[in-house]
């Protein structure tokens, strides 16, 4: 037979053991949840970060390539206009000086200007056309609207990366709290039902609760 006071002590010890056991189980489950949150957020952050970098690279290429194509088209038009200006200058000079040869050359240049303009327009029209591969054609034919849309998406990926990174940090902090809770639980198991043991157990419970809160925050 056990005396009442000893029985009470045993009941307290039993309660202590039960709380200790439940806490260990909770720590195990929280560790799994936080590990999932950490991997999920970490992967999302990495992907968004790299996607943002990819889009930045693509934007840079599109701007550079499409500008070259546009500049080239404008340069070709300038070449044709220069010929036109030369033709007019020759014709005017020939007219003023009564130089038939200069006028004839000017007229020939004038005709050449029209043919050249048509030829260069046709040349520019083949930019990004078949049989160029789809990727290069996309770079050459990029419009300002497309670039703006891509830029918006790039910014969105940067924001996503930042948000996911914050979630990952919360998960890592939660895992750190959980590790602390585990250590305190171990300490409580060593100190048993003494004052120090109870304090350790209480602190471990608080740490585990904090980790649970961080796990929730990591998913929101």
């Amino acid at each position: 037979m056990i005396a009442p006071d000893s029985a009470a002590e045993l009941r307290a010890e039993r309660r202590f053991d039960v709380v200790l056991a439940i806490l260990i189980g909770v720590i195990a489950v929280l560790a799994a949840i936080l590990a999932f949150a950490q991997i999920d957020a970490g992967q999302a952050a990495t992907r968004a970060d790299l996607d943002a970098a990819r889009l930045a690279s693509d934007l840079s290429a599109r701007i550079s390539v499409s500008e070259q194509a546009t500049d080239s088209g404008l340069g070709a038009q300038q070449t044709a206009l220069m010929l036109d200006a030369q033709a007019l200058a020759r014709e005017i000079a020939g007219l003023q000086n009564g130089d038939d040869a200069a006028m004839a050359v000017g007229k020939a240049q004038q005709s050449a200007y029209e043919a050249l303009q048509a030829a260069l327009t046709a040349t520019s029209d083949t930019t990004g056309g078949k049989p160029v591969d789809a990727y290069t054609a996309g770079l050459l034919n990029a419009t300002t609207r497309q670039l703006q849309t891509e830029l918006t998406e790039q910014n969105r990926q940067v924001d996503l990366a930042n948000a996911a990174s914050s979630h990952e940090q919360l998960a890592v902090l939660g895992l750190s709290f959980l590790a602390l809770a585990g250590v305190l639980t171990g300490l409580a198991a060593v100190l048993r039902e003494s004052r120090g043991g109870r304090i350790s157990l209480s602190a471990a419970c608080a740490m585990a609760a904090s980790a649970a809160l961080l796990a929730i925050l990591a998913f929101i």
């Binding site: 056990i2 005396a3 006071d5 000893s6 029985a7 045993l10 039960v18 056991a21 260990i24 189980g25 195990a28 489950v29 799994a32 949840i33 590990a35 999932f36 991997i39 999920d40 970490g42 990495t46 992907r47 790299l50 996607d51 970098a53 990819r54 690279s57 840079s60 290429a61 550079s64 390539v65 070259q68 080239s72 340069g75 070709a76 070449t79 038939d100 040869a101 004839a104 050359v105 007229k107 020939a108 240049q109 005709s111 050449a112 043919a115 050249l116 048509a118 030829a119 260069l120 046709a122 040349t123 083949t126 930019t127 078949k130 049989p131 591969d133 990727y135 290069t136 770079l139 050459l140």
Partner: protein, 239 residues
Amino acid sequence: MTAEIIEGTVSESRALAVSEITMVPHERGHGGVAILLTVAAIVAAAIGFRAAMVSGSASDSWQSALRTEVKRSAAAMEDVRYLYQSELPVAIQIVEARILQAQLLDAAQGVSGATKQTLLLEASVQAQMITALSPSSDLAAKTDYALPSGGLDLGKRLADLRAQHPELLALDPDGLQASGDKLAHKAEVMTLALLPASVAAFLGVLAQAFKRRRILFLWLGALALAGGVAMALAVEVLA
């Protein structure tokens, strides 16, 4: 005297309690708890390790996609730069000279004397320019790229330039990114398998604490652990 009696009773009671506790035979299922917790820990460690490896592979694929994107865009930019900045200006000069030469020769047909001589002289200047520039311009020299209007087919020329390095043309960062996405999904689902394993551990410690329901907790724990293992294996094989 009374105090001594009470103290004696307390000592006896404690001794009796301790003896009751220590004399309890080996508890039923105690070994099961230890086995369940150990196996749950090993399974959780294995799943975590595998998930981390798969997640690392996903990250590698994404990194590779970025590098490939940079490589692909650099290759395309170089081909475009070569065509539009190196080849095209010279080719345009040749096209201009050809058209001008043709117009000057046409104009020389209907005139005579000094005007004809001037037109022919101007045409010969253009001819010399064509002769001088043509060897340095495949774009203007090859008839494959000539358009009926006298212009040049830049699309065809760029396609030929790009085809000189088929390995660069075959770069596929989107494919690598998709591969990374698939691996990341696999890692995530595999990490979910940690949950049943942790629940098994939870049930294991409950089995230790609640002796009356120990066998039930142990069975449930074993079930949860088996579920976790099955889930992890299914993800490994199918995903």
